[in-house]
């Protein structure tokens, strides 16, 4: 679960990290009010869960409250990478001397957290990693210990931070690691962490990504979820415990298991088709879940054919068939469907689907080829 900038920074502040004064606004007049309270120049920042807001004009400087109101109006009318802007953060403007990057992330390979820092802040760290890898400092951390002073000093020295800021930097790095640990984050980053022209460290922008699997430990954080920021079909999928990612193609896929679902997509592509989505119904899905999955696929207007690939283990093929039939009862559809059911109760599943107008396949390659052919046939007609 991604947090908005304002949510991340609120958490940072809780852990003793200095952030600019500021508040979030849902309307332009609210934005004006906040700008008036803050006085002086403010930054109006769109709150959407994508990177690169600055480049698209989603972050603007206002010299006074009136300008802040204008800019808020403009920004809240925007869509950034497809996402409508519903909130803006009004922050007091800072005079920046230097921009630094500081983050904590999971290191899969080392199986522990890693603190990442760079003197090149303000741009995405992936960008720095690509163009100036030598500018990135990495330090593995012990997940059972708090950050030690010497660890922060090592980082501070490596990014050539002036020595008089080391102690403040320690507090910030310590707080960031605490924030990461205490929220079960996958990522906690300050970018940029700036040195202001009066020589203070300030977390100007921040981002946190939380581990969805750990949210049960943090009920208070689950409440921060912004439902508006999910595509409606992805939200529906999540509520049913389905794993769904919308893609640009036209062959809808319904598969049990993530690896098999990805291979199904790969095989569609291999035979000249384009998958419309990734969809994993998980292990042991019942008819209701299957039905919901099929309805989500059917609601995508791009879909020209549907491939159902189920390898029954815990999942029973007859349950899958029942779910498919129930969805088709609700939503009539002429879209060609190819079903390939193998494993537990495979006979029962086939028997049920025999009544419907479904193309069957014996292998995955066979199924994919039939799906691609069905799309071509549809296009030709």
């Amino acid at each position: 679960m991604k947090l908005h900038e304002y949510q991340s920074k609120r958490l940072f502040a809780k852990y003793g990290i200095p952030i600019p004064r500021g508040r979030v606004a849902a309307t332009a007049s609210e934005a004006k009010l906040i700008a008036e309270e803050l006085g002086g120049r403010v930054v109006v920042k769109s709150q959407v869960l994508v990177g690169g807001r600055g480049k698209t004009g989603g972050v603007r400087l206002a010299h006074d409250a009136e300008e802040a109101e204008d800019l808020a109006t403009q920004i809240m009318g925007m869509k950034i990478k497809g996402l409508p802007v519903r909130k803006v953060l009004i922050d007091e403007a800072a005079n920046i001397r230097t921009e630094i990057y500081l983050g904590v992330a999971n290191d899969r390979r080392a199986r522990c957290p890693v603190m990442i820092a760079s003197a090149e802040g303000g741009i995405e760290i992936e960008e720095v990693a690509r163009t100036m890898p030598e500018k990135i400092i990495r330090l593995h951390l012990d997940p059972t210990q708090k950050l030690r002073r010497y660890q922060s000093f090592y980082i501070a020295q490596s990014i050539e931070l002036p020595r008089d800021l080391w102690r403040d930097f320690y507090k910030i790095a310590y707080g960031l690691y605490e924030a990461y640990l205490n929220t079960d984050a996958n990522l906690a980053e300050i970018n940029p962490l700036v040195i202001t022209d009066d020589g203070r460290l300030l977390a100007l922008d921040g981002k946190m990504v939380l581990d969805d699997n750990a949210l049960f430990l943090h009920a208070e954080l689950e409440e921060m979820r912004d439902l508006d920021e999910e595509a409606p079909e992805e939200r529906r999928a999540r509520m049913y415990g389905l794993s769904y990612v919308k893609l640009d193609g036209n062959i809808g896929c319904m598969v049990n298991g993530a690896g098999l679902a990805m291979v199904t997509m790969d095989v569609i592509k291999l035979f000249g088709g384009e998958p419309a989505n990734f969809l994993d119904i998980g292990g042991g899905a019942g008819a209701e879940k299957v039905s919901a999955a099929l309805r989500i696929i059917l609601s995508d207007p791009n879909v020209k054919a549907i491939l159902i690939n189920v390898f029954g283990g815990i999942t029973r093929c007859d349950e899958v068939a029942r779910g498919v039939l129930s969805a088709l009862e609700e939503m009539e559809s002429n879209i060609p469907m190819i079903a390939r059911l193998v494993g537990t109760n495979e006979e029962g599943g086939r028997r049920l689907l025999a009544k419907s107008n479904m193309i069957t396949a014996i292998s995955l390659a066979d199924a994919a080829q039939k799906a691609v052919a069905a799309v071509k046939k549809g296009d030709a007609e």
Partner: protein, 287 residues
């Protein structure tokens, strides 16, 4: 005759009284696996599986009473970290965690704790292991594979079944199949299992099933080119997955340019590994 599990494996099931635990314990027992104990806190003293298997409250008691040497975990995600730590503390040498949705930082703590110990952990979020004809630990359907000389190691679940099924269709049996799980942080990695297969006299060749995300396949490629004499065939899922999106498996997110299927396939090819485009190709590549 196999790696990690065989007919002498004495299995303990953590979460044996739960719906999943009981269902799969039945399947494992029917397959011929020796289930010697179950553990569910507060249920100690019960007997399950037609009164054949005693339930204990704690791992230490269960291991002491039954001499279990392998544990499989079916507890809900919120209890899985505890279950793994308890199994490590009870000095179980092989721990298999089937549970999906374990918090990543919890796994970091488990791995950190394991570094002091000698236990081997498979999973979490994995289908478990099967040594056909001898023993099955986890949820791999028993009837889709048979005894043979191909070793299989996989980060996936049903995709593994698909491969086992394709092998069987072509008359190929399996020495042992190990599902190491699809989570970003897990216990045993590809190279651990490849090493075991390399040393197993009953394994002739190895099928490796990988997917996008992480660098496990890259490390496997390095290991294969440095240490493996037996042929390896690989299938990598996720060639069409768009970067930055999570494809179900917590491990299958492509982070910042690394972890791409294309990169993995390239290094595996360079290590002399034959690459299958889809499951049914694997038996062809073996022949």
């Amino acid at each position: 005759m196999s790696i990690l599990i065989d007919k002498d494996t004495r299995l303990l099931v953590q979460g044996i009284t739960g719906r999943e635990g009981l269902f799969h314990s039945n399947k494992m027992m029917n397959y011929g696996t020796k289930i010697v104990a179950g553990v569910t806190p507060m249920k100690g003293g019960d007997w399950v599986l037609n009164g054949k298997v005693p339930v204990f409250d704690t791992m230490k008691r269960a291991v002491k009473a039954t001499g279990a040497n392998c544990s499989v975990i079916f507890v809900p995600a919120r209890f899985a970290v505890d279950a793994m730590l308890e199994a490590i503390d009870a000095e179980i040498p092989l721990i298999v965690c089937i549970t999906e949705g374990v918090p990543i930082q919890g796994m970091m703590r488990v791995c950190n704790y394991m570094d002091h110990k000698t236990a081997c952990l498979i999973g979490p979020n994995c289908p478990g292991l099967i040594t056909p004809g001898e023993c099955k630990v986890g949820i791999i359907p028993g009837d889709i594979t048979e005894q043979g000389r191909v070793g299989v190691v996989s980060r996936s679940g049903t995709l593994t079944y698909e491969v086992l099924y394709a092998l069987k269709q072509h008359g190929r049996g399996v020495s042992t199949c190990v599902g190491i799980g699809g989570d970003p942080i897990n216990g045993t990695s590809f190279i651990d299992i490849l090493g075991l297969f390399e040393g197993d006299p009953n394994t002739d060749r190895v099928v490796l099933i990988g997917e996008i995300g992480g660098t496990d396949e890259e490390r496997a490629a390095e290991y294969i080119s440095d240490h493996m004499t037996k042929p390896v065939i690989a299938l990598i899922a996720g060639k069409t997955a768009p970067p930055g999106k999570r494809m179900g498996h917590a491990g299958a997110i492509i982070e910042g340019g690394s972890g791409l299927a294309a990169d993995k396939i390239r290094v595996l090819k360079n290590a002399g590994v034959a690459i299958a485009e889809y499951p049914e190709q694997i038996p062809e590549l073996i022949d």
